[in-house]
């Protein structure tokens, strides 16, 4: 409820359209976040813990 007051979701979705291609802002954000997570997962160093005996 409080977060919704900061980000007002009570309106029709905003769409980006280029020619026949159309995508909602929400879906575009999710896809960009997934690409960002995928890229970070490839390049961020993985922490190494102590080896178990």
């Amino acid at each position: 409820m409080y977060l919704a007051a900061i980000i007002n979701l009570n309106h029709p979705a905003h769409y980006y359209s280029v020619g026949p291609f159309s995508i909602s802002a929400g879906n575009a954000v999710i896809i960009l976040v997934m690409i960002a997570i995928f890229t970070l997962a490839l390049f961020l160093p993985f922490p190494h813990g102590k080896a178990d005996k």
Binding site: I30, M34, I37, L40, A41, L42, F46
Partner: protein, 205 residues
């Protein structure tokens, strides 16, 4: 070979899977990368989905409209499914680009594809049982789609009761079974090595 089905089941299960393969405590060095995290992250989100889904099932599909606790449980279910699909898609991309079907792992890959399809169908029935304008819109649009391909007689998207039973009983069990099958196959074949390390392709457990 014995004709006893108990013997055949034992040989196909307990005697084919070593405990150290099913619950390993070490993995090859190349598994130490963030890209290998997303499979288990998907399972973690699935566990949250199961837990919050059971909670919602106990209270009914309209509970979240009138109760703040219900709204919280519903939001947990929503964000679990958002994370479930995000993690699963990143897992899919990672496995696709490392060609994870190499080394006789095609069944593992296909079981993942089947799990993805089952997840989409399960999520769709979840959309249908929100008991709000969103589910009303989706179900009325979807029924035209189903009728156009001739399956409207078997699955009526406007039948909320049917969608609820599919979503809370049949599909989670089906999906859970596919996920267990997927994990057992991974344990049996081991994690696929990097593309430039084909020497260890079939013996890297």
């Amino acid at each position: 070979m014995s004709t006893s089905w108990t013997t055949r089941v034992r040989k196909a299960t307990l005697e084919s899977y070593k405990p150290e393969d099913l619950l390993p405590d070490t993995q090859p060095a190349y598994v130490a990368s963030w890209i290998y995290i997303f499979g288990v992250a998907t399972i973690a989100a699935f566990v949250m989905l199961f837990a919050t889904g059971l909670w919602l099932t106990l209270e009914g599909p309209a509970w979240w409209h009138t109760s703040s606790i219900g709204h919280f449980a519903n939001s947990m279910h929503l964000w679990s499914v958002e994370l479930f699909f995000v993690f699963m898609v990143v897992h899919l991309w990672g496995k696709f680009w490392m060609a994870a079907w190499r080394g006789k792992r095609i069944t593992t890959w296909v079981s993942g594809v089947v799990a993805f399809m089952a997840s989409i169908i399960t999520a769709f029935t979840g959309y249908l049982i929100q008991t709000n304008f969103d589910s009303q819109w989706i179900s009325t649009e979807a029924k035209d789609g189903f009728n156009s391909i001739g399956v409207g007689a078997f699955f009526n998207a406007l039948n909320t009761g049917q969608a609820i039973l599919l979503h809370v009983a049949l599909l989670p069990l089906l999906l859970g079974g596919i996920v267990v099958w997927h994990i057992i196959l991974i344990r049996r074949k081991g994690v696929v090595p990097p593309i430039d390390n084909d020497a260890t392709l079939e013996g890297n457990k």
